[in-house]
Symmetry: C2
Subunit: 471 residues, 2 copies
């Protein structure tokens, strides 16, 4: 370990520089796979500190990996090449709302859930809502362009970011975008940086757009005997003239996991359930539910159960929220995918996952954001069983390939990180990959910003789950 | 003129290569200022032709300037450095809708209005609606990230582009994004390319997202005695809990221009009128209008006139549509700006424009998309009066400076092009400009794609309207 680096970092951060091995180990993992040990951990609390640290990294050509709450499912915050982990979780105090401008400004370590709460106090809404929102940071959401259930109507994180303050690879501070919804002044660096996984610049402040909070919501649970019809219902509802604010699906396996875990009187024998929320004026919602009911009737679907009151509605959404905890409680490792397909291809994707489940003898639960084609096939596996893990790797690869074949994408909302980088070229092609690499090389010529993410290592062609490098 | 270039282009395009000077002159202007003469005009009708032409440009290092219907107000399609004008207007035939996926695929020359019509046939909507939509092409909308009145609720062109096919500067064909709303596979090149004014790649196909068409609309005209209160109303309405689908403002000058032009019984003495549309369920709309009425009453605004039927509603929107024709009919040159400010700053911007109007003795009409802070201060001027033109240039510069001072932007929806490039650094700063230039240099190292746009010429510090270079 270089003393010159340590000394410089200490000058910038004092006791917010962590170098003990125990501390460093605890910054070496996230919600995906692999354990790595950074050389230094810095707990930054200002743009000037970020800038100073990046200048040290630039001088000594060592990696900087930004990290929020490390809930990432794709490996974004893993310090795969060592160097500096830049922990933003202590920089969680800047959160200022401008209600007349429908804006909120935040530091990267602010929890997404705190943004929701503050907006709500002003009768406003920040729609992106990843399921980790009570713990994850907005910085992580920005890095990975997080989504959530409201994507079908309201879009994803990127759609709510108007401006950024960013530290570039050479340690400059730049501002992108601004405070207006319309802005075509030069290249859209805001939307390039959001979702770039900390590889093109480090975000130190974001200006987010809020919208008026919808007056009311109403939710229906629709029960299906077969998955194909459930899939077909999604397009049927979305072309009925109604615009649902959420549309989530759970397959039989997911239903039974939740029922085992929480005992909510769910229909264990159903092939799937669809949860559909509409939002707006209360009376209009009743009519919209009737439009949905009648559209579904035309394709032979009749089991539309509308929550009668707020308590019943909350209970329905509880079902969806409990899927992940229910899977985790089984004790095995949970591998959560987010392949996303065009809406009309959802039935095909369900069918394929069913085939893959049989073929590889795996326990796959399928649930997800049906309204935007973003499914979460989730595999429960024993990571100590190398033979099973190898089957998991094959199954995941087959899911990726089929999603691409259907005109879909490897990742809807989790990011590429380390988990999917081996498959990037399959989706974007060689010329597309070169175009992306040209952007990276231009903006981070020394490759110090979160190296090892998005782009495959030379010759890397498949997912490897057991890549622990920890001692 | 190089015979080798002409020969190669002729092999690719046959008689869709135009070299006569009369033809070339007619491709040398757009809706902004300046007249330039390209060396060649090519009327492309396939991605392969675009690719072949770009390869010629790459080989001989000559500029390629893409052009749709040339309605640009910022100079995007001007061939300022000669070379090849690539005319997309003949490639207007590929338009395929996938209603179950809520998608439409288009070639660049398709008229935006034709997209609206086809979506409407399926009870779907493509929200972006620049006022030139009956003539402009989607390719131009993509290049400039066009907006329109629905921005306040539905966003702009970029928000509806899921995927692109693009010819890069070296003549490769790449695909960006895909067919899904959620997609975080690598860098978001789709959103980088949309709005990049043809300087990073040439778009040859786009996959656009559609949404269910709202069931109904309702419109109110609100009449004001003073501009400040009109401005204040905008935030008041947007924080009332209602989400208007359009919110347009006309100042007294605009009202009177329309009244002179069309005689619609408008309140000539009003300081401003605000047109507010809400969309959704008919009964809900009535309630929403009451919410707006009561929110406005609290700030002392009472003149809320709701259109009683569709005919009356159409008449109100006719008022807004006639502003531009009314200004043009005055016979002078119309300089249309699109400085955009945070919502709460709209009253300040109105006040400043009033001061500028007095200071420079100019005829400035103000109207625009109030709901997203996107005003169109429009100057009527006699381009033959050099002294007046010089005052116009000063006034425009002062408007730009004040928009930036208020936390706004130079351009909300028209683009930078040639018209605003001198001011880019003022908004994005030197480091920001370098970051943008690094992207350009990486993706178009020979600077052949629409050179002279976005980035200022060395030493260029102000707007110059009289820059004709035509013989």
């Amino acid at each position: 370990m270089s003393n010159a680096i340590e000394q410089k970092l200490h000058e910038i951060l004092g006791d917010r520089l962590l170098t003990d091995v125990d501390d460093r180990i605890s910054y070496g993992f996230d919600g995906s796979f692999g354990q790595y040990i950074p050389d230094y951990v810095v707990q930054v609390i200002s743009a000037e500190e970020v800038q100073a640290v990046v200048r040290v990294a630039d001088e000594f050509v060592i990696p900087v990996t930004p990290r929020g709450a490390a809930t990432s499912l794709s490996g974004g915050p893993l310090p795969v090449a060592g160097g500096i982990v830049m922990d933003f979780s202590q920089w969680n105090h800047y959160l200022e709302i401008f209600p007349d401008d429908l804006l909120i400004k935040v530091s990267p370590g602010v929890r997404t859930g705190d943004i929701h709460k503050l907006a709500d106090d002003y009768n406003l809404m920040y729609p992106p809502d990843p399921s980790s929102s009570s713990v994850c940071t907005i910085g992580g959401n920005l890095a990975e362009n997080a989504g959530g259930p409201r994507g079908v109507k309201y879009g994803v994180t990127k759609d709510y970011v108007l401006g950024l303050q960013v530290v570039t690879a050479d340690g400059s501070i730049i501002h992108t975008g601004g405070q207006t919804v319309k802005n075509v002044t030069g290249y859209d660096l805001t939307k390039l940086l959001v979702g770039s996984e900390g590889t093109l610049g480090i975000i130190t402040e974001a200006t987010l757009r809020l919208i008026p909070k919808p007056l009311d919501t109403m939710t229906a649970m629709i029960v299906y005997d077969d998955l194909y019809t459930a899939g077909k219902s999604i397009s049927t509802i979305l072309t009925s003239g109604v615009r649902p604010s959420k549309m989530e699906i759970l397959d039989q396996n997911a239903i039974n996991k939740v029922e085992d875990y929480a005992g909510l009187d769910l229909p264990r024998e159903a092939a799937a359930v669809l949860l559909v929320e509409v939002d707006g004026d209360t009376e209009a919602l009743k009519k919209e539910m009737e439009v949905i009911r009648s559209a579904l009737k035309k394709i032979g679907v009749t089991g539309v159960n509308i929550a009668g009151d707020k308590e019943e509605e909350a209970k329905l959404w509880q079902v969806r929220k409990l899927v992940s905890p229910a899977i985790v409680s089984s004790g095995y490792t949970k591998i959560s995918e987010d392949a996303t397909v065009p809406l009309s291809k959802i039935p095909d994707m369900f069918k394929k996952i069913d085939e893959i489940k049989e073929k590889y003898h795996l326990n796959i639960v399928v649930f997800g954001h049906a309204g935007d084609g973003n499914l979460h096939p989730t595999i429960n596996t024993n990571m100590r069983d190398a033979e099973e893990v190898s089957r998991v790797e094959d199954a995941v690869e087959e899911i990726f390939n089929y999603a691409i074949e259907l005109g879909g994408t490897l990742s809807g909302e989790h990011g590429i990180g380390t988990m999917k980088r081996a498959f990037l070229e399959k989706e974007v092609g060689q010329a597309g990959l070169e175009f992306q690499k040209a952007v990276k090389k231009a903006l981070d010529p020394k490759n110090i910003l979160n190296p090892g993410k998005i782009f495959p290592n030379p010759g890397e062609k498949r997912l490897v789950l057991n890549n622990d490098t920890a001692p």
